[in-house]
Symmetry: C2
Subunit: 672 residues, 2 copies
């Protein structure tokens, strides 16, 4: 509350006061959101509701768990009184022993971050630690700046993958070799339409989308460690199999499916039918177990049924065993895909070598993340204040699935996701507490279940964190320096921009272990983000080697390279015309061309430049045509020239001082 | 080249060396791009070309104009040797007397910035000085995160405006009252399809799009100062009128049109036919003159014709006189719009009160920006190293249009755009020099034409700047502190992200006037941006007052608010069903509903929450349905339920800990 070392002092006091006034009530509002709202927007206050929620803790526990401390902490932090005063570090671009997150003009970030864009359908590429958005990669969304979905190639890819115009991308996963990111591919799911896409990291472009058969909604998506032999996709929504109108009124016949995909051909290899709704997936580090969190073991269709029981179960898929069962023909074929029965009562799950192990964990767990050393799979409680630590080695040896859980620390309210540094610590997001908790993994294994002994510190975040990720934490090489928290709400953290607020990505430095309230975590910066980043994955810059211009060999046989010399127009038949054009600074290969009203125009354009960053666009007014051509790239587009007139084709990328004059003239002559 | 005060030292030396090695050759490459490439990618080097380009200066002038100095300057700046050493300030987040551009967690930016998104079709909202993207506003692009174009209302708006799926937004213009931004509306053009859109700044949402009749491509777009009585749209591409197949082979009959639009009804009021291609528009401050830059007075159709003559002309439209001519019936009506003849030879342009004045300026001028005091319109030379200063008062008094030009300083190569501080300075982007030049406007008026005396300093930017804008410089209240430079190329400034590079927005502090190389300008930060921001406009945060939730009164009569109680399903006829649902945290108003195969479903959903930032989405898998509902908002969507089966409608905005369980079940029963 004291003076503030910023140049915009007039804002500080207001902010600080607002934080103090509203933070606690916001926490309460979220608790309300947790369960009480089932009773309507005018439900009783959270204090009277809490004892009935089955969370195993009351209002006192809630206060103790950090929310109240956090409020005081964040006020102290905002007032610049130093990190020993409370839960929030003093924000600064060069604070003590925290490296500068500001990347000066002309210098590069150290890490790439890949953000799934949620229902924006895209993937975003970030620079870490600057948190600058380097580019967007359209994946499930048709997008005009890059002409994605506008040329025949990407347009047909989207059409063949269900012809949807959007998607809901959740979990980006980077391909690995020897458990390390190899910079080849990024895979990401579409929750809305049950799809998985592949992004080619040479060109930073989506090159394949699979509409997974038999599956309505893909939630979790990850590659198999250590060598990306499979990509796995968790089907979330239970539905009839096949979903063609049969069994619509009999939810007991609904199923969800776990799918294994070939990362090169992007074909489904096999699927496993399971009980409950699959959620997040992560691979062990040895290529045997794939772990999936799961909710609704009750197999209900309404929220009260789904959250009725105290336990749900994590599924552990024994991948080589399933592959063996498939090879042995132990499946039924549905829509051309081998579907193995991995439901709880399946005979394939009986005996010494079950295909799928059902590991009971507290109700509605959300997420499983495997530790970088491959020892543990850590499952967040969501509706329980604990996380469960699964000993992966025991999955193959311990007959009682419950006994594979070797630790269960109590961390706080609404634990959702856990990430890792290189020093044996877990960092778990607490959705309801709006905090990140840092804890000691081995100490949690040694402590009694339900104990808080392993907790090293908590830091307030703003507000309601979902996924959190530290750099390279999903591989065997976590770097242990930067952590990002993807907060679902921003409330008053940024200038208001109307009723749809941005989310808030926060950057936290985790390189220091300290004996203070936060365990050394320091909040560095806030970043407004367009809805709705879901998850992230970060990799050292040296692990990627993107192309700076296209290599025409990479599309040889698919698209014809058009030079200036072979630019031209050819009439194929009475209603079809082929137009070929080069493009370079200030000039298309054709200054003009004439077609007839009603013609189908098959146009191919090559950017013949060889200088990086000299992009040319091809816009045809009033024809909805829009291509973006990087140097040496070629794209095709087919369209109807239905309306007579003169149309000025122009370049959309400002390419030279004569960019405005870079045009071709399409004359559409009237038919008599 | 000395040591560098950053934590990522290993990158510094490489960067510095690269800058020194490549900057000069990059400048040369751009010069090449300017004209030489007309002769092909293998054209002669720029040194041999320069004397022939008609630029009025040779290689020595080019070196003198700043490029060589700039190279040394940027190296010195990169090496952290202080701002007196060269053209680039030492980058730092708290450099000397430059205010901190870093906005600490929880504090707000001081200014809003609105960026046109070029062929991404969107507008972006930025925070200044942090340069964080606060949100995106989809305008001409269908966009899924906000469900824009997915609900019936916005979908029909896009359909009625030509049914295009993209646009090329160039020039954002904020509504004014008394010459000051009033926070009501933002207007922006679509170059690709000849449209103008309006964004409602209460809700930060596009609420109207006009497909301008008779016009193929709208380039310049601005409101009329001081009171937004008109919105003006410059038609760029010359085409037959109407463009229906007539006169396609007779370019002498092509015309371009200047349009006046009613900002409330978004109807075209009248159009003026002119000679040449219209480009950028700006209003005087008194509601009389509208100035448009213009190229191709030659009225050619190929680049050599368009750039043949030494002169083009700026058009000055006498708006009240044109309105009077329209009121007097002096027009022909084309497609329902009064079109006034304002071509060079029109009788309406003869005599003492011409409707349109043609002011000769050096070849292919690009852009006109009126000074905040309303005295001058400043026209950048593009292919001339000068800018021309038009005395606006003389437009109504001086019979010889050429004599309205009262100053013509020589500023550097490729001048494109000029912006202003509150102290009488102009800042002009030099596309080819990759610099910004600061100059004294009154001194330029006093100096001989072609003189460099008014220049106060130059700073290198990276690379090839297009638009530049200082805060509130388009209004009568420039703040004179921050300036952004929208660079068209980034080349090696950021981590590589494949062949389509980001552009580079650079933040420069202009609050200090200093007697040094840069005139006090200091480069503060680089920001990668998704293609292709075209222009920007910035406004103090206190001038906007966005809504935090919807006011249902604002859509009363258009859409029905659905409470929990009136949630329900009603069959309208054998093939049409109406579905009404509320939404709140963890629950839709209908847990399930059943329709029949082939039904048209008319769905209305209201978010009944009243807490800001609690958004709910409505996703219907495999039906391409995606709504985004802020609190108290209602949207409608109509779709066909063609495929029997079970479909899980879910919420796309992570709204509570039971967000995953927030679902409704649509059962599509097979028809017998």
């Amino acid at each position: 509350m004291s003076s503030h070392d910023t140049s915009e002092g007039e804002e500080t006091d207001t902010k600080t006061e607002r934080s103090a006034e509203t933070l606690l009530s916001e926490h309460e509002a979220q608790l309300n959101a947790l369960i009480a709202d089932v009773q309507g927007p005018d439900a009783d206050p959270v204090e009277t509701q809490l004892p009935n929620l089955g969370l195993g803790l009351g209002r006192r526990d809630f206060m103790k768990a950090g929310a109240a401390v956090g409020v005081l902490g964040s006020v102290a932090g905002c007032a610049g009184q130093g990190d020993s005063q409370g839960g929030t570090a003093t924000p600064s671009s060069s604070h003590g022993d925290v490296p500068d997150h500001f990347v000066p003009p002309g210098e590069h970030d150290k890490y790439y971050g890949f953000w799934s864009g949620g229902h924006s359908g895209e993937v975003r590429v970030m620079g870490i630690p600057s948190m600058r958005e380097l580019t967007r990669i359209p994946v499930f969304n048709r997008e005009c700046a890059k002409g994605y979905g506008f040329d025949d190639g990407t347009g047909e890819m989207l059409k063949d993958a269900g012809d949807y115009t959007w998607g809901d991308s959740h979990h980006p996963s980077l391909s690995e070799t020897d458990g390390k990111y190899d910079g080849e591919y990024l895979f990401v799911n579409d929750k809305a339409n049950g799809r998985v896409a592949r992004v080619n990291l040479k060109y930073f472009e989506t090159d394949a989308i699979l509409d997974v058969p038999n599956v309505q909604s893909v939630h979790g998506c990850c590659i198999q460690s250590p060598d990306t032999e499979y990509v796995f996709a968790n089907g979330e929504f239970r539905a009839p199999l096949p979903n063609d109108g049969r069994d619509v009124d009999d939810p007991s016949k609904y199923v969800s499916l776990f799918s294994a995909i070939d990362p090169e051909s992007m074909d489904v290899l096999w699927q496993v039918k399971v009980s409950g709704n699959l959620d997040i997936a992560d691979s062990d580090k040895d290529g045997r177990w794939l772990l999936s969190s799961s909710y609704n073991d009750e197999e209900g269709v309404e929220i009260e049924e789904m959250t009725r029981d105290d336990r749900d179960s994590v599924k552990a898929f024994d991948v080589p065993a399933i592959q063996k069962a498939v090879d042995a023909g132990k499946y039924e074929e549905v829509n051309g895909v081998p579907v193995v029965d991995g439901t709880r009562e399946s005979s394939l799950n009986k005996g010494d070598n079950p295909l799928v192990r059902y590991i009971p964990t507290p109700k509605s767990p959300h997420c499983v993340e495997v530790t970088p050393d491959g020892k543990y799979g850590i499952v967040a409680g969501k509706l329980s204040p604990t996380v469960s630590i699964i000993d992966i080695e025991k999955l193959g040896t311990e007959p009682d699935p419950a006994k594979t859980i070797v630790g269960q620390p109590k961390l706080g309210l609404g634990p959702l996701h856990t990430t890792y540094d290189d020093r044996g610590h877990g960092y778990t997001s607490l959705f309801i507490d709006s905090q990140v908790v840092k804890w000691d993994i081995e100490k949690a294994v040694e402590s009694p279940k339900g104990s808080e002994e392993a907790i090293l510190g908590k830091i307030d975040v703003h507000y309601n964190p979902g996924h959190i990720q530290a750099v390279q934490a999903m591989s065997v090489e976590p770097t242990g320096d930067w952590l990002v928290v993807l907060n679902k709400l921003s409330k008053d953290r940024f200038l208001p921009v109307g009723p749809i607020h941005p989310d808030n990505d926060q950057l936290i430095y985790i390189g220091n272990d300290k004996d203070n309230e936060t365990g050394g975590m320091e909040l560095v910066s806030d970043h407004p983000v367009y809805p709705e980043p879901h998850d992230a994955i970060m990799v050292h810059k040296d692990k990627l080697d993107p192309a700076k211009i296209w290599d025409a060999k990479d599309y040889e046989g698919e698209r014809e390279y058009i030079s200036e010399k072979n630019s031209g127009i050819e009439r194929l038949d009475d209603s079809t015309v082929e137009v070929n054009m080069s493009s370079k600074r200030s000039e298309f290969g054709l200054r003009e061309f004439t077609v007839k009203e009603g013609d189908e125009v098959q146009m191919t354009v090559t950017n013949i430049e060889k200088s990086p960053d000299i992009i040319h666009g091809v816009a045809i007014p009033e024809h909805d045509i829009n291509l973006a051509l990087a140097p040496q790239d070629t794209r095709e587009v087919t369209f109807a020239a239905d309306d007579p007139g003169v149309y000025w084709i122009y370049c959309t990328y400002f390419c030279s001082a004569l960019h405005l004059e870079m045009r071709s003239r399409m004359i559409v002559e009237p038919r008599d």
